[in-house]
């Protein structure tokens, strides 16, 4: 019979311990293989940086006097952050589904909200680890200002949360790794590439500028970049509104799916 000493003081406390444990488990899961989950993405971002800056730096400037490499770096940091946040929640879920060990979470008294918050936050952490890694390494190559750190943090966290949430949906929906790879290759990659990571959309013909405005990734990267340079293609407030709205929509959808047990509770 339960030993009162090991039972939490209150219901609320026990829910919090559940959340904290699931978060810890999700963080530990990627941290135990940090060579693949953190070091590898930092390295690939670094390669992009080296190659593009070598080719283009002296020839191109953006926003008048910003060197191309400096312009590029926040884009690369954000791209790495977003991709890794998505990869973390989606691959963790599909692995657990395929191996069957998701049942240990499903058997436990964890609500949909706790499930969502823990998976999303762990994925944001992974994204932030990678982002900080890319940023630290880039310090050796690039003279990057930091005009408004609060915007940098806001877009890093919100963008990470948006992709983490998207990753949860993809992980719940997908039944095989290929389906997840399709998400990544046909949706995440193109939207990131066409979002202005590598260029300012002001350099595009006006039709393509309009198209870019339909891409939420554009707003995440543009808002993030504003934090570094104090200037960007659109207002950071507009970007915040768009990214925030996308997050609310996806988070609501995720909570509905989890509440119904969609594809998780047969």
């Amino acid at each position: 019979m339960p030993d009162p000493d090991t039972l939490p003081g209150s219901f609320r406390a026990s829910i919090f311990i559940g959340f904290r444990t699931l978060l810890y488990k999700e963080v530990l899961r990627f941290w135990k293989v940090n060579f693949q989950t953190v070091a590898a993405p930092v390295l690939s971002a670094l390669l992009f940086l080296l190659i593009f800056s070598h080719v283009l730096d002296r020839r191109v400037t953006v926003y008048g006097d910003v060197a191309y490499t400096a312009f590029l770096t926040p884009g690369l940091i954000m791209m790495s952050l977003l991709q890794n946040a998505f990869a973390n929640s989606s691959s963790s879920l599909i692995q657990s589904k395929i191996t069957g060990n998701i049942i240990f979470v499903l058997l436990a008294p964890l609500s949909s909200r706790v499930f969502f918050a823990a998976y999303a936050l762990a994925a944001v952490f992974r994204g932030l680890f990678v982002a900080v890694g890319v940023w630290l390494v880039s310090v050796f190559f690039v003279d990057l200002p930091l005009a408004q750190p609060a915007w940098v943090a806001t877009f890093a966290i919100l963008g990470g949360a948006l992709l983490a949430t998207f990753g949860i949906i993809a992980g719940i929906w997908a039944e095989k790794f290929d389906q997840l790879a399709a998400f990544q290759n046909f949706l995440i990659m193109p939207l990131t590439m066409l979002s202005g990571v590598f260029y300012s959309i002001h350099s595009l013909p006006s039709f393509w500028q309009q198209v870019s405005h339909a891409n939420p990734f554009f707003f995440m990267i543009d808002g993030f970049r504003y934090g570094f340079f104090g200037q960007s293609d659109t207002s950071p407030w507009l970007s915040l509104a768009v990214v925030g709205a996308c997050f609310i929509v996806l988070a609501t959808l995720t909570l509905i799916l989890l509440g119904r047990g969609y594809k998780l509770r047969g």
Partner: protein
């Protein structure tokens, strides 16, 4: 009156056109050691999964210690420990990490004392810091048992816990489970080893094709569905045969339901001059009962 440990009413579940559970009603009282038997595909695991909230029932209600498994899932899951049939594990963690994490999911920290006790009862203490992926199949199965117990649930459901576990450990596991039952935990067990069910369970439900086709105490099932057989070696088998015996390989078998029948039979054999020189009694066993129930259902 206290609420039962498990209450299931009008439970149905279909997978496409296949009806896995076709209306189950079942109550299991607190403190019972209950057996859930049935051939492959009978619906045992589906029933357990519905109880644990791993699958959504199409209809009906399920309660654990009076808590509805959907509306009050938090309390229902706190009261329930499930050892799943499938040998699943998380390869990223060590045995101790797995158990600490599982405790945390239930809102429990500082559970090391109890975790160590479970590990020692399951003979896993020496592997506590080994990675899950390095364990043998039987060891992984024991970790599943340990995971189901971290939160000291009053109701424990074991879905074929002894599949792939060696003889010695199977004995140890049953000792442990009997101890838990003696301490007041309600135990529900599925197994295809019918002698285990017979020895352990006070009451048994037999399922077939999504229905319960027999539900009674083990003792009643044994006496209701099977007769003891008395096997005799006699001087003149043809006389014994005339008295209703069935000759097979030097023995004559008689079906016997009560002790006085034995006396009468022996007296009649003596009168007919068929002296008895060998005797053996075939006890009814659950396997016989099971086969009979399945045949009739």
């Amino acid at each position: 009156m206290t609420t039962p440990a498990i209450r299931i009413a009008a439970l149905t579940k279909s997978y496409g056109s296949l009806q896995a559970l076709a209306g189950i009603d079942l109550e299991i009282a607190r403190g019972e050691f209950f057996g859930l038997l049935g051939p492959n595909g009978a619906g045992k695991t589906t029933l357990i999964s519905a109880l644990a909230g791993l699958v959504r029932a199409d209809g009906g209600t399920l309660e654990v210690m009076g808590h509805d498994v959907v509306a009050d899932f938090h309390n229902a899951r706190l009261k329930l420990g499930v050892v799943p049939q499938e040998l699943v594990f998380d390869p990223f963690f060590t045995v101790r990490e797995v158990l600490r994490i599982q405790s945390g999911y239930y809102g429990i920290c500082n559970n090391d004392g109890w975790v160590d006790e479970i590990l020692s009862r399951l003979d896993l203490l020496s592997r506590a810091d080994a990675s899950m992926r390095t364990l043998s199949g039987g060891m992984k199965r024991r970790v599943l048992v340990a995971q189901a117990l971290v939160h000291r649930p009053p109701v424990i459901v074991l879905d074929e816990p002894t599949a792939g576990v060696d003889v010695e450990l199977r004995q140890g596991l049953w000792q442990f489970v009997k101890q838990l039952n003696a301490d007041g935990h309600t135990i529900v067990l599925t197994t295809h080893y019918l002698e285990e069910a017979e020895a352990l369970c006070g009451r048994i439900a037999m399922m077939k094709a999504g229905r319960i086709v027999a539900l009674d105490t083990t003792a009643n099932l044994l006496s209701r569905f099977s007769t003891r057989s008395l096997r005799l070696q006699v001087q003149r088998p043809e006389v014994a045969e005339a008295l209703g015996g069935v000759v097979s390989g030097g023995w004559v078998d008689f079906s016997i339901d009560t002790a006085p029948e034995v006396e009468t039979l022996l007296a009649r054999l003596r009168e007919a001059g068929a002296d008895v020189y060998g005797i053996s009694v075939g006890e009814p066993d659950l396997e016989q009962v099971f086969l009979e129930v399945m045949r009739r259902a």
